[in-house]
Symmetry: C2
Subunit: 102 residues, 2 copies
């Protein structure tokens, strides 16, 4: 039994935690599933299909971006978002690797 509970989360897991938190919300999952392969969507498009207010969508996009699940770029007045597949994959692989040691 590993007893150092309060320090048990390795550095490498800090971001993984964020990713899991980001993916653990139903609205955020729905947002991710709105993207078609390779697609980039701006905030207005996501608000359009969602059932939430613009501020709520903005909040969720911020969480997804800060976790690295989405990347974004401002083009003109609009901010476009897209799946950061590499980042998501890396988090999943890190947990897979941990499982292998268990």
């Amino acid at each position: 039994m590993n007893r150092d509970y309060t320090t048990a989360i390795p550095d490498a897991w800090q971001n993984i935690a964020q990713v899991f938190t980001a993916l653990g919300d139903e609205h955020r999952q729905r947002i991710l599933l709105t993207f078609e392969p390779g697609e980039r969507l701006n905030v207005g498009q996501i608000v359009e299909v969602s059932t939430l207010s613009r501020s709520a969508v903005s909040h969720h996009l911020k969480i997804l971006r800060e976790a690295g699940v989405l990347d974004s770029e401002k083009i003109g007045k609009e901010v476009y978002f897209w799946l950061n597949k590499k980042q998501i994959r890396e988090s999943l692989v890190a947990v897979m690797d941990y499982l292998k040691t268990q």
Copy 2:
């Protein structure tokens, strides 16, 4: 753009959502990291190393068990928990497979 926001979460994702929610909490991550390879721990042992009350630990264990991240078995007075590696791996693989289509 996939527009059916309200129905966008496939059946197969229902459990994945639970898994990510379960792994998205710091205390629950610490609990998982308390297990050494192949180890089974009872509630008392987990309470002992955690900084939470017994009921709070019980609450988190319930969430982890309902998500399938942990399995449990009652032996005498004690309930032993262990990592359900297969379940965790399946959820991760499901998301990996989704990423491949993106």
